[in-house]
């Protein structure tokens, strides 16, 4: 006799190509950043004025050991990209997570508790979003001084609204569902309902936003490095490399292009990771 059980429970999603690619790239980057002293072929700070503007390995005039060429001070581009990943990833993970926690908590409270809490938080979001973000962060860092803490603080202060807005809307939609009413009839308090009933349903959205935010944090860090407001200028940063490479783009395009490609791939990988994770973790497969 044919098996008449409902097949809906048996659906299993494969890990998609994009999740593999995005996860692979980020893992590679993370490993390179953690083991930078072992992986980088050269000292990223060592200048050698006899080896300036060496082209990448496939072009004529390339030097062994300098795979992606050197910049106008003779520093190895590949090693600098690898060391630059350290700052980029630290900023992405730390700033992304703090922004996520603060923004989501405020959004969840506004969306579910409503009333005056919502009123205060929503007005705050409105006011916040009227500031131009890049100028705001530059101003902020000009005031509190450059450094890793400042970058992270700037990203958190600027970007929490991104989470708050979306999570608020999502929490409102979930709050109107009958299961919330049922939970309350069953004696669950407001806070308990918020954390145990609403939060798990908003979580897939939060995860997507978090990965997007990590990508955005990488970009913001690059922008701040580009305008020289990141950490001390000696340490390699992707944004700093792009700024330096811009000056010599006609003589040595690789100084600009390689950090740019790395930046692009990293931001793309973060956003694709979010989409892929959402598909996997959302039980309803929305």
């Amino acid at each position: 006799m044919a098996d008449l059980t409902d097949g809906r429970g048996a659906v299993k999603r494969r890990i998609g190509t994009r999740l593999w690619l995005a996860g692979g790239w980020l893992t590679l980057l993370l490993l390179a950043a953690v083991f930078a002293p072992l992986v980088a072929p050269q000292d990223p700070l060592a200048q050698d004025l006899f080896l300036t503007r060496l082209p990448p390995f496939w072009e004529k005039g390339a030097e062994a050991g300098y795979w992606l060429g050197t910049d106008s001070l003779g520093r190895d581009v590949l090693s600098r990209v690898i060391y630059g990943a350290r700052l980029a990833l630290v900023v992405a993970l730390v700033a992304g997570s703090i922004t996520c926690i603060i923004g989501s908590a405020l959004g969840l409270m506004a969306g579910f508790l409503r009333g005056w809490v919502d009123l205060v938080i929503s007005r705050l979001i409105d006011i916040w979003m009227a500031f131009p973000p890049v100028l705001f962060s530059i101003l902020l860092i000009a005031v509190i001084g450059p450094g890793l803490h400042s970058i992270i603080l700037a990203i958190v202060i600027i970007d929490w609204t991104r989470f708050a807005r979306v999570v608020r809307a999502e929490a409102m939609a979930q709050g109107a569902m009958d299961y919330v009413a049922s939970a309350q009839v069953a004696g669950r308090g407001r806070i308990g309902t918020m954390l145990r009933e609403i939060l798990p349903n908003v979580l897939p959205t939060i995860v997507v936003l978090l990965t997007l935010e990590m990508g955005i944090a990488v970009i913001v860090e690059a922008i701040l490095s580009f305008v020289n407001l990141s950490i001390s200028t000696d340490d390699p940063t992707w944004g700093g490399m792009i700024a330096e490479g811009r000056a010599s783009v006609y003589q040595a395009w690789w100084v600009l292009v390689f950090p740019l490609i790395t930046l692009f791939l990293t931001v793309l990988a973060f956003s694709q990771l979010g989409e892929g994770l959402k598909d996997r973790f959302d039980p309803v497969l929305r």
Partner: protein, 289 residues
């Protein structure tokens, strides 16, 4: 004394103070099935929600009392009130598709209340949930307990919600149009199931519906509502023999019959509606200036 007694309950919108329920009173004794019937927007669901303390944020209680098992709920602070309602009453919601938390497994959703509110042991609560799922005719309850709502059909989910409502042996269940979102064939099963469970467990039931046919099958007494006013209260037997209010009679006349599906499709006469509107307007004039 009745188990549930609503006295002069008046609800209104917070914003513009438009009244939703006007001086509604009703009594439900232990084990009784009381139907609340009326058109959409008559306020029948609001009564159930007010009793359970899950009114929408936009609605406020402007006056009245809700006595549940000898205690006026509206006089209690919110936390004590939730605890009391949680121990004594339960809800069978209208839409089974949104009434289960999509990101949690079925098992804990049934046992939560037993464990968290009533202090049962987890194992006892799970055994109880298994029993009840069996009672609502779900095959392989142990498997269903581990499943997520989206893996189950609407009828299955509604049966789970019924099991869940009866889990803590409540003395009162509010069934808010429990069959409206289901298709006709499943409606009948669910209705029979609720009636059967109610009879076995001796639970009082506040049955919100717009279907007089359902009322005649399930309920012992009923209230007819129009625009937040109760027009008529009587036993089901008396009501179907001879409704006392002309609006009720018109409603009964509008119930489709199998023998004459088109001919029985008579709207409520304009004259009756006009009279009701005038009455409501006069009531509002008298009470709110």
């Amino acid at each position: 004394m009745s188990f549930l007694s609503v006295k002069n309950l008046t609800l209104r919108l917070r914003d513009n103070r438009a009244p939703l329920l006007r001086d509604v009173s009703l009594e439900v004794s232990a084990g009784e099935v009381h139907g609340l019937v009326g058109e959409s927007g008559a306020g029948k669901s609001m009564i159930g929600k007010a009793v359970l303390g899950i009114l929408p944020r936009a609605v406020e209680i402007a006056g009245g009392e809700i006595w549940l098992d000898g205690v006026d709920l509206l006089a209690l602070p919110p936390a004590a009130r939730r605890k009391r309602v949680g121990g004594l009453a339960a809800l069978i919601p209208q839409d089974p598709l949104t009434a289960l938390n999509p990101s949690r497994r079925i098992g804990p959703q049934i046992t939560d209340r037993l464990v968290d509110i009533l202090g049962w042991k987890r194992a006892e609560a799970e055994a109880r949930a298994l029993d009840l799922l069996g009672e609502v005719q779900i095959n392989d309850p142990a498997r269903v307990m581990r499943q997520y709502p989206h893996e189950l059909s609407g009828g299955m989910r509604q049966r789970i919600l019924i099991a869940s409502a009866f889990a803590a042996e409540p003395k009162l269940i509010v069934a808010d149009e429990p069959t409206t979102a289901l298709d006709v064939t499943v409606q009948k099963q669910i209705l029979r199931l609720i009636a059967g469970m109610q009879a076995r467990h001796g639970t009082a039931l506040l049955f919100v519906t717009h279907d007089l046919g359902v009322v005649s099958k399930v309920c012992q007494s009923l209230s007819v509502l129009y625009a937040g006013r109760i027009l008529e209260q009587s036993t089901v037997r008396d009501f179907f023999a001879a409704p006392s209010h002309p609006y009720s009679a018109a409603l009964l006349g509008a119930t489709p019959k199998y023998t004459d599906p088109e001919g029985s499709l008579t709207p409520v006469p304009e004259a009756i509606i006009a009279r009701l509107r005038a009455e409501i307007a006069a009531y509002d004039e008298a009470h709110h200036g």
